[in-house]
């Protein structure tokens, strides 16, 4: 009942429809969605109709389709992402008053760093990160922290797959990366200069809940900024977030 003749579940096809939306593609025609989702037009139109009826998609004044507020509400209400982010936010704001660049919160999601939050000073420098965007774990400072403290199974899977050089300075040699990750576990932080964008330096620390690293807190600075004073600011904020996570259980 839930499966189409092609064997995809209805859920899979809904995900394929939702997955066609992106930061720089917030409205699409039904035909564009069908094409990008790789679904037959009739099937896509029926799913889009169902999703509009349920409020998960909306039609704008020109008849183009966009993500609905109802989807946003269902995804956030009761999500651990929201709990983590609401707990971290006041402490991220405190970091921002000192760092005055970018402060970010990321989690490990399917071997990538998924960013839950980003605060940016109006005059801050370059930053590739987007809220609800992803970056490779081996290249971003947040990702490196998440990878360093990840389940060894995840770490080996990432290290054994081809590692793409995002910038000229991305570490892509598995042995060098392994030693970098060991250093992060020892020191409890990373300073990654130019590894994702040559113009910036990322500084990241782990956030633990129930003894496990659940997120990375990071700051993105201009490449030549002094990262040293930022490390204790991030470490103190991570401790505060951990305490509040504990208290809110």
């Amino acid at each position: 009942m839930a499966n189409s003749r092609s064997g995809d579940s209805m859920t899979t096809r809904i995900v394929r429809v939702l997955d066609t939306f992106a930061n720089d593609r917030t409205t699409q025609t039904a035909s564009e969605i069908a094409r990008r989702a790789g679904l037959p037009s009739s099937s896509a139109h029926r799913i889009i109709g169902d999703l509009i009826d349920a409020g998960l998609l909306e039609r704008d004044d020109e008849g183009r389709v966009r993500l609905g507020m109802r989807l946003w509400e269902l995804a956030l209400r009761g999500s651990s992402a929201l709990r983590l982010r609401q707990t971290a936010l006041p402490h991220m704001e405190k970091v921002q008053t000192v760092v005055r660049e970018h402060t970010q919160l990321a989690v490990l999601e399917h071997d990538e760093a998924l960013f839950l939050e980003r605060l940016s000073h109006p005059e801050a420098g370059a930053n590739i990160t987007r809220v609800a965007g992803r970056l490779p774990v081996h290249a971003s400072s947040s990702g490196l922290v998440l990878l360093a403290f990840a389940d060894p199974v995840v770490r080996e899977r990432v290290l054994s797959a081809p590692l793409r050089a995002v910038s000229r300075e991305t570490v892509t040699d598995p042995a060098a990366l392994r030693s970098l990750l060991a250093g992060i576990r020892r020191r409890g932080h990373v300073v990654a200069t130019g590894s994702i964008e040559s113009v910036s330096t990322g500084v990241a620390v782990p956030i633990r809940d129930r003894g496990e690293v659940v997120a990375a807190l990071s700051a993105v600075l201009p490449r030549d900024a002094d990262a040293a004073p930022v490390i204790p600011v991030l470490t103190a904020a991570a401790k505060d977030i951990e305490r509040d996570l504990r208290d809110s259980r």
Copy 2:
């Protein structure tokens, strides 16, 4: 194909499953979900399995089910909620540095005020609002602003439905509410004392995009705080948000 024997579309049933999660109910067993969604156990288990396969739900270490990070990602990436919220956030932070209580952003969603963001000072007073939570439009300051500037069809629908007294001071008489809304349109703001919680005063102003009110920016103060100085702070922030929305098109 997408419909069950009961006539519900698969999408509707997925929404019913996701809808069982809430702020205070972030993990559930599959049986609890089935019961709360009003779905036959076998059907619920199959949908939950599909949603877990797609990453929209996750199982925790104890086998209980929670909302997945993938759902959060799909709902946010490319959503107008995220664009509005990212545009508003720096200006909300600026409001917070002056108001030091609660600053909030809400949109009209199915005749209710849906809150996209809330910033709170650590020592701020009571506030019923939750991110991804809803409040009645006729009782919350944000809701009153959204209702004042809503499509007349929406306004008449709300005014002709029974209006619940959320607190002793909620205006529930349609004629009185109509006059209150006309005043909000004239003045461009509302100061609502005790209308949703007797201990607090809400102050709200509209945010426009392409000539239409798309959101309300509000502050929640202790009941007896002086609201007058907050009005120009919110009005200036709303203007800044409107400018940034225009620039980001």
